[in-house]
């Protein structure tokens, strides 16, 4: 399956890309995607402990299962306001 990954702020800087499609095995979880993301962009390793993920615009846990076509946001610590 394929998911659409959106990188923001420091994560975008480290990945050197704003968004990309990532191929994963069926029944892959958010945690599996995180590992694949670091394989694709090793610079993200320094940031990964502070990252949170959203799936289809909802904050998600690492054990959440992904589905084909999901939109995953890679979210460094936030600072709005």
């Amino acid at each position: 399956m394929k998911v659409r990954v959106l990188y923001f702020a420091a994560a975008r800087d480290m990945a050197s890309v704003g968004s990309e499609d990532v191929s994963l095995s069926e029944r892959a979880s958010v945690g599996d995607l995180a590992r694949e993301m670091i394989r694709l962009h090793p610079a993200l390793k320094n940031l990964v402990g502070s990252l949170r993920f959203s799936v289809n615009r909802e904050v998600s846990g690492n054990s959440e299962r992904l589905r084909d076509g999901d939109e995953v946001g890679v979210l460094p610590p936030v600072a709005g306001g």
Binding site: S54, G73, L75, P76, V78, G80, G81
Partner: protein, 145 residues
């Protein structure tokens, strides 16, 4: 800026008087307006400006959820929230929240809660730029769901 849209994320200048005017209603006895602006210093260092980045579709969804939550907790008459993104200069308005209620106590509480939730749960980031040409992402907090 439209008076009809109560939740906006915009690149354009925010006029707090319009945000306040949008919550005016005869049944309300008071309105509270919070206005966030770009401070001239960060950690003692003079700041030239701030660049806000946003995950826009998720942020709009979160703001609507914040509004729904505020309305469950307090008897709100009208409520408006506007957050800016893109490049901002010192003194410019980054965010405005207005709430009108029958009585002032609940208007203050509801407005305070809304701006705190905006800070904690909106997927937004800011990069400070300094006079010597350096830039730095502002250290944030993990997003809350």
């Amino acid at each position: 800026m439209s008076l009809k849209k109560m939740v906006t994320i915009t690149r354009r200048h925010i006029d707090p008087s319009l945000v306040l005017a949008s919550v005016a209603v005869d049944s309300a006895g008071g309105a509270v307006l919070f206005v966030g602006t770009i401070r001239e210093k960060s950690g003692g260092r003079p700041v030239k400006g701030l660049a806000y980045e946003v995950y826009k579709q998720m942020a709009v969804k979160r703001m609507r959820e914040i509004e729904a939550e505020v309305r469950r907790k307090w008897p709100v008459k009208r409520m408006a929230m506007s957050h800016r993104y893109g490049q901002l200069k010192v003194g410019e308005v980054s965010v405005a929240v207005a709430v009108s209620c029958e009585h002032r106590a609940e208007a203050f509480e509801a407005c305070r809660y809304a701006i705190d939730m905006i800070k904690r749960t909106l997927p937004m980031w800011k990069k400070e730029s300094f006079g010597n040409g350096t830039e730095k992402w502002v250290k944030g907090s993990p997003i809350e769901g």
